[in-house]
Symmetry: D2
Subunit: 437 residues, 4 copies
């Protein structure tokens, strides 16, 4: 039900539409007939299994063709460890933006960025921002910290037992490290943080994970620590869980914001006013005005951090490059800041504390995802830090371009001319769009 009772009443009227309360009540009831069929769990992807699953479905023939096309069937084995109950692939269009010049500790040079999206105008907007940054000499980017976390929780009979446990745990860090690092070649235990809430103790273990994003890695390592605790702790918890929802996994949290989760990166660029004028059709002052009002807008609406739309660039890059799209939920937080320098230039910076990226593991090895990393020149070991710096640069590009549109008044126009052109009809004329560099 909606917040306000007047809204609620209007909403109810729409809901009912001639249906009685009993009728609606019946719809909501549990129904205990047997389902007509169910998906059998299948870890291996076989043609037989795929056939069985499609048999369950009452789809149009073209739907099966669109997902389980011949090329997909040929590549079926490569998807084996990324998905179960396989029925095909979904295809997302990829657009190219760039070059994006990044002067990072790790990322160096001009990057072409593949973006998978179905939102019209997104790619041209990031492309504009990237080229603007490049024109200004590139953005400076700095990996500030890294660490993947897993946070088991332990419940004790009372505070005395929790305290005894903690005193012991604080003496066992070396053992914890050995147990954890026996499960992984790349993961290193680098920190343990402690949260006590009554008789509950959360241990937040922090790891570096090499060039993988590392969520599974830290799960396995933490599980090993938990087994060791089970076997050796002088006080037994009443119950415990390998993850007690304190790590911030898959959701935006103030915690990652105040420390780090995954990789923390900041990126900045300084733009002379003529470049702001020629590329964005506005002025540094107006950009700073927008920033001020939008920062307060973010604060007033209760977001974590203040920024515009990091999620757009991150989701497009994560999906293209085999990163976990679910992590957009936690990654899309941070701080954007724009101001006019005493020289009259526009200073712009983004800071993201929670980038969840890797260049090995996860979906990075799938054929088209690996291809997108190849476009970036960031495949395989040794590249994750650079990928994080590129992400920050990309977010900076996106913020500049969209704020430019909002200041120049062509935000709605850009979306209209692109999103509303129907495929069947003429595509929009190039000149119609103001998102020009």
């Amino acid at each position: 039900m909606p917040t306000d009772y007047r809204r609620a009443r209007l909403f109810l009227d729409r809901l009912f539409q001639g249906r009685s309360l009993d009728e609606l009540g019946h719809r909501l009831k549990p129904k205990h007939h047997a389902p007509s069929g169910k998906v059998l769990r299948a870890f291996r992807s076989t043609l037989d299994g795929l056939e069985q699953r499609w048999q369950l479905l009452a789809t149009r023939p073209e739907s099966r063709a669109a997902l389980a096309d011949p090329e997909t069937l040929r590549q079926m084995p490569s998807y084996q460890c990324s998905v179960e109950n396989f029925i095909g692939t979904v295809k997302l269009p990829v657009g190219l933006a760039g070059p994006l010049r990044v002067n990072g500790l790790f990322a160096q040079g001009d990057f072409f960025v593949p973006l998978a999206t179905t939102e019209a105008a997104l790619v041209v907007s990031y492309n504009r921002g990237a080229q603007l940054i490049t024109e200004a000499g590139g953005c400076t980017a700095l990996l500030l910290n890294e660490g993947m976390t897993r946070a088991p929780g332990f419940a004790f009979a009372n505070l005395r037992e929790a305290g005894r446990f903690l005193v012991w745990a604080l003496s066992q860090l070396e053992e914890f490290r050995q147990q954890a690092e026996a499960t992984t070649r790349h993961g290193k235990l680098i920190d343990m943080r402690i949260m006590v809430e009554g008789n509950h103790v959360y241990l937040n273990f922090e790891f570096t994970t090499g060039d993988a994003c590392g969520q599974n890695m830290v799960t396995f390592a933490t599980e090993a620590i938990c087994r060791y605790i089970d076997a050796h702790a002088p006080v037994r918890p009443q119950y415990s869980f390998v993850e007690a929802n304190l790590s911030g996994d898959k959701k935006a949290s103030a915690q990652s914001f105040l420390s780090v989760r995954g990789k923390k990166v900041t990126a900045e660029v300084i733009l002379p006013p003529d470049l702001v004028g020629s590329c964005l059709h506005t002025t540094p002052e107006q950009m700073a005005n927008y920033w001020r009002m939008s920062a307060i807008g973010g604060v007033l609406s209760g977001t974590l951090g203040v920024h515009g739309h990091y999620a757009n660039g991150l989701a497009a890059l994560y999906v293209a490059c085999g990163q976990d799209a679910a992590c957009v939920a936690e990654s899309a937080v941070g701080v954007t800041r724009l101001e006019v320098t005493s020289e009259g230039d526009l200073y712009a910076a983004v800071t993201l504390p929670n980038l969840m990226v890797g260049t090995v593991g996860g979906g990075t090895g799938l054929p088209s995802q690996q291809a997108c990393l190849d476009i970036l020149g960031l495949t395989g070991p040794g590249k994750a830090a650079a990928l994080a710096e590129v992400c920050a640069g990309l977010c900076l590009a996106g913020e500049l371009s969209i704020i430019g549109s909002l200041c120049a008044g062509d935000f709605a126009h850009a979306h209209r001319c692109l999103a509303r052109a129907k495929p069947a009809r003429q595509p929009p004329p190039e000149a119609a769009c103001l998102l020009t560099v």
Copy 2:
């Protein structure tokens, strides 16, 4: 730099690795040489343009083949209005989960849910949860509210002028509605909320958008209102923006949580203890213990709402079904609640205030995305409310299955047996995994 100075020093040591401060400083400097090439903006997808873009890239030949395969090139026109600077498609494997029985106001029956992901174990886990819910008679799901927002901001010389403007604006709602609704067949202006911060005024316009998610629709409608304001307001703002970052677009916010953005849905199921035992290998009491500790874990880590991992299911369904993956950032908030009823059953509910889904517009018309909606039986007009209820049911399924794993102690095991099996090698034996229904 990391939070703690000790951590910061360790991190610095890793950064430097024999590189001098000057050397690092040089890497960070802007560099003003011309780039070797750049992506020309291309709204139309043509083979020539695609060829030009690939020429810019120094990729391996198999990368181009993986993205710009023959089937993709054939379907190029269908991607015309979803992406610019087209270079091909990325393919994400889709697994099937279900049936998920939903007893909703709008969604009725057993749904098979296509999930696009590269995270091993995700599909089997949701499949388990879905079948568990179905076994219990299905989940009850209730669309509680809907409304898409766009929030222009207006800056005045002072509070007096802001006040005068507001008095006028409050008298113009009918005009605003006419202006807005002239731009759209499906959008209806249903609310206007007002936020004053000093001499800044934000007007938060709320619309229903038919069966589209409607972000562009509300942008165009709000732009029309802004033009009307420009022409008729008795007090001119010093500057204004069609969106001043108060709408919560693409980021988690307390505001959507306290009202609605997109669609707000709640879903519940009641599970008898024997079903919890046979499917999840644990007890209602232990599930409730987990919930209590994890709810506090969420509170302590500073998340908005308390839940486990809505983002996993939402991202997989959004990507599969042509929804905006960037919206996972705002959608993955809500409240999960588990408790033991006085009869000893497990009560479980999820409430999500910010589902951004539609069954028309956006990426819903692309071939493989339309196929996924077809699997759900939710293509085209009249289906968006049902899709939102299915999303809530899916999140409920995911919470139950993962909490079950954490309680039964097989969370890490499930991920290990699936994610670590290498494609080249033998896939994991079915029996090895405890995620059984």
Copy 3:
């Protein structure tokens, strides 16, 4: 235990200090001997009761004299309905700041503000800010909204029953109003907002409360509604509570921030640069620099809203004027904004959504508290809105003065010269302090 394990170990070392774990464990154990005496509940304040309570205490004689002085004993009856188990009064020194010129919808003119505090430098700092504002022609202040809330919660067997209840409740608003308003002469039910979370329903009732703060008033009114619901609802909740912790009572919340609790007020002033120079020894530009960095500082540390130290002024005024000091917890949120106008002036505004003030009821009728309201000229009915506007002006004065100090570099100095002067010694020479107007 502290966050970081290294910190935790250091902290443990300090804790133990030669004490064994068993020794500490013993200290923490419940101890079941009878207490030597206990405070008998006493609603009436009598000399006998007071004597009995002092008998329980092993205090120095001067302690009793300091609290239960003859004047306090004489006025004992006036404290009858404000406190139970009376043992005396605590005396807080009151300093005077002003004039603070407020050009409000309700507050008009020059106000002298009594501030009760034990923090040195607080009164001179607010005094400086108030006189600065007055010099600039006063601040504009605008009551934006008002409403006191009470939020009962109802738990149902399932969503179907919750839904039935809601449909009924939405039809009963007129009845609710009658029930509520029968309990009070001044309270009016003006809104009902609805929050559904699974099978839990929260109804957030909003009232105007005349010139009282009105917390008790809305409790009694809501209790009447709950009794009516109990007697008439077609679906019985399994249990319900007259307040289910959704109203934001006594704590900072995003909710009050996004709507209102108590009174919402904004205040602004525009300061020419010479006034900033002569009074604050700094420039509008530097003030705006501070604001920008401090706003981000607030965001990064995870506060609700962004401001400096509203709590200082509010606590001092609340304690002096018989407002509820506990409400400082919820009142001290909001947004401060400083910027340089295109004319080079300093624009400054504060917006506070949750001022909990009244001029009747609560502690407003106690002798010295009534005296403080008298100093403001705001005693009795018809003055609460003006008091809220004065509060906003006071917060604005405080923000300007402290930011001025931080910019001019005399923040620490001001505190040192005042707080460290020992009473016994010479008080600080007037000239030593830079907090000059």
Copy 4:
């Protein structure tokens, strides 16, 4: 203006009440006539100065008498360093609650707690909770961490310079410590945390402050560090501030919640069901039901942490005992948890990360405040940790008592019978109130 346009219109109607827009506009305008007088800054409290200030005021004679009574004038010198522009004292009634048995690391034994408040029913409610805890053997309380923070901010030309500065700062910790500790006998620098946001660097210095709350102490110490940085840093900031609003000073923040500010304490008690029945007239199950619904209520309303009303007890104790009442804004955050144990008892715990208490310095030396600390037996050096543990125990007592009232249905009743009894009339009969132990 209020959130909803319908509410806004109603509100406007109330505002105007026959006044024209111009008339209201005129009220809001700056007005430049000279004020009739102003408060001259006065650090010394003299009778002459006091007389001058009262001359400025147009108060009734009894107001002056109520504030500047003879006893207050006698004690004027003791208020010298706590307030400026002295005009008298405000008197708050103090009630006694207890005994509260605390089994803490530092606090040991039965405490009688003086509470200064003007809210009827507060003292009896805390008294009931305290005696309930005592009956159960007392609460276990544990100081978990301590640390006072001050966070200077430094703005650099760009990230390169910020990075250089940081590398230097990380090598200077020993110097920083020496500089800081030269300013104080009791303060010790124990941590430095680093926050980088673009070219802005915040250094968050954390200190222990002996038995003082220590806000001034850390300001002076940090100022010494800043002077050292000014003189020695190899890169000069463009500007810097001794506090850049990252410390969480005087406002609730997620940061203190995730680490510590002041003192972090947890307290617990286990109550057998018969005690819950006899004292609170309810059951452990119903208390746990309330907790679950109220915890979600807190989450839904967007509070930091989840609790009921810590502010009530803290404000009453802070005001009585010479603590800074403004710090209630930051102190009143934390987590309350209630659950039924497997033995059927009620487990209850509170955790507060941000208690700002001291037993020396601030207002602790004022006559009546010192008396209140004397009642607690916690005056002077060596007692601050115990005071923090008592605060946690007090908050636990308050939560139990009020939740008990809400469960037993006598919450409104208790307030009515106390707050509405008029002093002039008969006080409420003891038997009328259900808040019985």
